[in-house]
């Protein structure tokens, strides 16, 4: 009678060495790699989940901020919020926009110029001010088929990860639409690997009165702060930790 529990790893290795069975080696190797992958994934998820319990890291010398400009009305709303920030607290500012939307970059740079003229930011701790603009491939263009959008989305996701690793923002502020999901997921990857504990603030558009946008519904459980601009939405998603302070636009 064979006692399965008595089989040790050494027995298996001996068996493989004795019989030189290539199929068994293959099976064992794949089993081990799946197990390792699973453990890594589990570790990443656990690490990500615990990251939500941590308070924001302190940045006495100012933080690196990434602002994701959606286009059109989204850009207007986000730049309105950005304009209220004290830029001396954010010596590193990166504006992300998506292909085909050059206007958002222009508007961000105009805001930078206006801010500089009215209140020149003097960096704390002598840190140099650095403003950067990044343009990412759009995940899905208007009218693009869903099949091809899978590939453009993968590309957008890869670009987002590369950008996040390059910029290493302390905070990401975004308000949709679609493509900002990839930036947020890339930021979550940084958090899970503990490369950087990037915090994410998502602001639902002023145009959303009674229902969340698809982007909002995707991001609601993963961002650190989720802000809505209408009381009806706040009441509806109170259990999800949604916050409401009033109109931000």
């Amino acid at each position: 009678m064979l006692d399965i529990t008595a089989i040790t790893i050494k027995d298996i290795l001996d068996f493989v060495a004795e019989h030189r069975c290539p199929l068994l080696v293959l099976v064992l190797a794949s089993a081990v790699s799946v197990l390792v992958l699973f453990c890594v994934l589990l570790f990443l998820i656990a690490s990500l989940v615990t990251s939500y319990g941590l308070p924001p890291a302190k940045h006495a010398n100012g933080a690196s901020a990434m602002f994701v400009l959606g286009s059109g009305g989204h850009t207007t709303e986000l730049l309105g919020i950005v304009s209220q920030l004290d830029f001396s607290l954010y010596p590193l500012r990166t504006y992300v926009s998506f292909s085909g939307d050059t206007l958002s970059t222009v508007r961000a740079l105009r805001l930078e110029k206006d801010k500089h003229e009215t209140a020149p930011a003097t960096a704390r701790g002598g840190r140099r001010q650095n403003v950067a603009t990044v343009e990412l491939r759009r995940a899905r263009n208007v009218g693009q088929s869903y099949f091809t959008s899978i590939f453009t989305s993968i590309w957008c996701g890869c670009e987002a990860v590369v950008t996040l690793i390059k910029v290493m923002p302390d905070i990401v502020v975004c308000n949709g639409p679609g493509s900002c999901v990839f930036i947020c997921f890339a930021a979550l990857l940084l958090r899970a690997t503990r490369i950087k504990l990037t915090r994410i603030v998502y602001i639902e558009s002023f145009a959303r009165v009674n229902s969340l946008s698809l982007t909002g519904r995707i991001l609601i459980s993963v961002v650190d702060r989720f802000i809505v601009q209408w009381p009806s939405l706040a009441a509806q998603y109170k259990h999800k930790g949604v916050e409401y302070f009033g109109i931000l636009a």
Binding site: K58, A63, I81
Partner: protein, 187 residues
Amino acid sequence: MSRKVLLTTGATYPFDTLIEVILTQHVLEKLSALAVTDLRIQYGNTPTSRIAYESCVENCTAVLQRTGINVTGFGLTENMASEIQSSWLVISHAGTGTILDTLRSPSPKPRLIVVPNPVLMHGHQAEVAAALEDMNCMLYAKSVTKESIASALDKLDRQFTELPPKHSLADLINYEAGVLLNDTSPQ
């Protein structure tokens, strides 16, 4: 004393029916009764909208002459904010940009009537319009008909409520970014 009405149709979707409805005898006479002298029409940047606008103006030349309303038009402008500020009344498609620009413009604020584009009804423009009408910040004409616009024009003498001031997220963002050093509690 000139009294200007600004009509906006938005930049992304044509809204020719709104121009057609405003440039009818019924609505123009209402505007004239409200002592309106100028009507500025933003018709959008598609060539067809321009043609539609021009033919509408042509069709009502007689009424315009009789009422003395001076109609001018433009496709798009960089300077919408100053167009809005100099108006007594803004009749707008329900674009949130124009709504906010109008409701946040410095005093004397123009009155605002919003007419959502039926093509975009599946969107959220109508929701914003309804919510802001509930707050008594503006008037909402639910359909693109001369009756619904005329009934909105009849209600212009009411006292409108100011939109609550814009809340700043700076403290929250500073806290999250860890740059709010003397205050450790979240907002």
